[in-house]
């Protein structure tokens, strides 16, 4: 009996017996952290895992803030959605300054003057170096009707009295781009998600049933998918836009059409779900669940779809831009949202000529929130994916 089980290389093995105390009933004692983990629910575990993904967490918080912001757009926007300033048409963005001539003044902008160059017919804005227009905060500005409920006029930030403050410039009617972006968030961040939800529910349910049951169910579902996929959205929009009643408000029409698009958009997902399930359903754990007497809905929902979660999350996050910008293509053809409603997509369609890119590039600012939101959703999706990943 030796103290190490390992002899010299090549030497014959001696009999080694561990001398450590041995108690077959001994249990490893657990740290409090382990106990906490052991008694947590699966959701809680996921949340903990999610939290470890800093970027996802940040994205989540960013989106949460954004969604909170759309509740108070009226307050946050320095101007109203339709406030026009005919003296500041196509005004470029304005910088915020803190110091004037080396002295601290607080946030302010320099006043500007517009002259029309009659030769080229361009509006030229010159800063007046001694016209200091300090910004006001929690101030009274354009009156608005908060969510259409009560009148108010308090804004987070407003220009100086009789001054102007166009952080992101103005458009061709002299409307503040920043304010329009803030208002546009309302539509862009909400309605499209509705469409995604509808199409996801349909896609997963129909694709799931077709893939799981196969046979005649699959056959019918596939034919429906074929038919729907064969009808491009643009002619459909054209037809729908033509027959929608005039008296409906634009938002209602848009909502309706988004829903209809959602109702038509599920096919791609359904096919992906179906084909994945066609192979997943052959797995033993599905059989195990069947033998336990689980219903199809449970098998699809608890066993199959989770195995497919990463794909679903990726697809969902990737469809978000489509939904946010969904109306741009339509607006481009003159079928989309109409004033007085606006969205980021609409704002972008307003910048639809090369001259905008050459002369008024700030009209492309709405792409920035779009990019941010899309990135945030994607990173959030990454975090969710990882949280649901058992191997992590």
């Amino acid at each position: 009996m030796t103290s190490s089980p390992l002899p010299e290389s090549g030497a014959p093995l001696a009999h080694f017996v561990s001398t450590a105390p041995f108690d077959p009933y001994a249990l490893k004692e657990m740290t409090p952290a382990q106990i906490r983990v052991n008694s947590a629910s699966q959701l809680r575990l996921m949340w903990w895992k999610f939290k470890r993904h800093k970027l996802a967490l940040a994205s989540g918080i960013f989106l949460a803030v954004l969604y909170l912001m759309i509740l108070v757009s009226e307050f946050l926007a320095p101007y109203n959605l339709h406030s026009r300033n005919v003296d500041f048409i196509h005004a470029p963005p304005q910088g915020i300054h803190l110091f004037h001539d080396g002295t601290f003044v607080g946030p302010f902008v320099y006043g500007r003057e517009m002259t029309l160059d009659m030769d080229t017919l361009r509006r030229v804005y010159t800063e007046k170096p001694d016209d200091i227009e300090p910004l006001r905060f929690f101030c009274s500005g354009d009156p608005y009707r908060f969510w259409g409920l009560f009148d108010a006029s308090t804004h987070f930030v407003c220009p100086a009295k009789d001054g102007q403050f166009f952080l992101l410039g103005t458009d061709r009617l002299g409307r503040d781009v920043l304010s329009r972006i803030i208002y546009g968030a309302r539509i862009s961040l909400t309605i499209g998600l509705l469409g995604i939800t509808v199409s996801f529910i349909l896609g997963i349910v129909i694709g799931g049933l077709a893939g799981y049951h196969g046979g005649i169910f699959d056959l019918v579902a596939q034919r429906i998918i074929e038919v729907l996929q064969s009808i491009p959205s643009i002619p459909l929009w054209m037809a729908l836009a033509a027959i929608m009643p005039v008296t409906w408000s634009p938002i209602l029409i848009y909502l309706g059409i988004t829903l209809i698009l959602g109702l038509l958009d599920w096919t791609g997902l359904a096919r992906a779900v179906r084909s994945k399930l066609l192979s997943l359903r052959e797995e033993d754990y599905v059989l195990a669940a069947q033998l336990m007497g689980a219903k199809s809905s449970r098998i699809i929902g608890r066993h199959l779809v989770p195995g497919f979660m990463s794909h679903l999350i990726a697809t969902a996050t990737i469809s978000i831009p489509g939904m946010i910008l969904g109306e741009t293509a339509l607006s481009f053809l003159g079928l989309g949202l109409r004033p007085p409603i606006t969205s980021w997509g609409i704002l972008l369609t307003e910048a639809r000529s090369v001259s905008v890119i050459a002369f008024y590039p700030w009209l492309l600012f709405p792409t920035i929130p779009v990019i941010l939101v899309i990135l945030a959703f994607n990173f959030l999706g990454d975090g969710l994916r990882d949280a649901a990943d058992p191997y992590k």
Binding site: R84, L116, R172, R338, P339, S353, V354
Partner: protein, 614 residues
Amino acid sequence: AARRLEPDFLVPLMNAGKLPTAAGRLPKNPRVVDLAAMGRDVGKYGGTARMLIGSAKDIRLMTICGYARLVGYDDKLDLSADILESYEHVDEKVFTFKIRAGHRWSDGRLFTAEDFRYCWEDVILDENLRKGGLPTDLLVDGKPPRFEVIDELTVRYSWDGPNPDFLPRLAAPQPLTIVMPAHYMQQFHQKYQNANRLAGLMKEQRTKSWVDLHIKMSRSYRPENPELPTLDPWRNTTKPPAEQFVFERNPYFHRVDQNGTQLPYIDRFLLNVSSSSIITAKACTGESDLQATGIDFADYAFLKDAEKRYPVKVGLWKATRGSKIALLPNLNYGDETWRGLLQDARFRRALSLAIDREEINKVVFYGLARPSSDTILPDSPLYKPEYAAAWSSHDPDAANRLLDELGLQNRDSDGIRLLPDGREAQIVVETAGESTLDTDVLELITDHWRKIGISLFIRTSQRDVFRSRTMGGQIMMTMWPGLENGVPTRDMNPSQLAPTTDDQLQWPVWGMHYLSNGQKGHAPEVAEAARLVELLKSWYHARTPEERTDIWGEMLAIYTDQVFSIGIVNQTLQPILRSAHMRNVPERGLYGFDPTCYLGVYMPDTFWYGEDIA
């Protein structure tokens, strides 16, 4: 100086003996264009002009801008003979046309009275070809003219009553067709072609009947048939469908400059089909040598900027429309209450007064247009300032008063007026929404009208359904360009001011009534509109110029005072882009379809390339 009288372009053909020299190609008595008198320079031959068009159908621009007509307007809008050597008429009843001797079609065949005869007897009077009967323009009191061939080069049309419209119709952008290349067209005519050959041709052209074949092969307005002989300065050589249409000079064109050089100067026009959205961008990168369509005033700054980088020049012409855009209240609207209001002049006047035209002008037109009602421009000899001023000032108070007077004094909590039956006063304006201009202006008007308690909703739809829906009373108001011809002379037909056709969106049903001779639609129930119809009828019979002037005046007064259409601004500017090397393109001009035919009356055949030819 020894001027070259033959374009290089034609020399190879002449050398090959396929083409005679200039003397052999020109009529004995060509039309001499006195460039000096027009303040232009004599040019030289050569060059290709590129032009961008939004769709293949736009090749008709060449017919419009080429502007070779039997009789045509000059840039002062005076009528004179163009293709014809001369014309004369007796009391506008008997018209005698004299053809230029030796004038040839573009294929070299002589242009004679036979071509008129063929068109009259074998086409217009042919029952198969003209199932619907004669074109209304050729009827006076429902009766066609008598047509006579006086000699080889002289023809005559005579009516019992006066037809003051006849010559203007021949000079119109889309002219009345009374002449066709008989030698060419006969091969497609049942009467002249044996059935076998005809069937073969039909098969070749994939038409179902010889009538279709004849119609297809004879289209001259949209010159899709490269074979069709023409009298225009350039003839199409490309068969559609195509992305690029090549127009080449017509070697037999009948105009010469004062030195006797045959026009046109420019050899070829290349028409490239582009989507309308990038025409501006392309024009700005020097890809067009002459561009007026597809570019808009809003792009002026961008176009102007291109001057720095590319050899192009941009000029601004004055648009001839009565109003750049106007609101047309549908007096035949289906809803009883609304119709009542819309037919009430006070209501229309209130709407008009409420609009702040200065603001619109400033925002959209850099203040360069002129606020005005929908009426004629000062460039017209018939113009009076009061027409433009009628109800076009910004006076919301007066507007409010008018509306109160009308019994719309009740308002809801949002300050929107209530109709007598309790509904909100919401006006839905339909627009084709093709440019942001319409929607921008409407957005501004929405605000203006809110101040008088009227709410405005914008609905964009395809413009092709406007006509039938307006007819059906489903559209309340449309946004549409104002009066077509803003620079009329007393000799031009004032029908645009009266309900005369079904495509006038303010009164299509009444227009239909007139158009169908009372068969369809119904007569105007508004007295002033009915009066306009009467005045129009009396214009036809007016004998003296003064009489016509008076009629025009009264019609214009009624039209503007009644605010049958709500004009916004007119005299807007149209950018005209041209290659910097191109000469003789006027700096200023009137731009419009009718009557100036876009560039037509300014004679693009006299444009030429200076310096090194591109």
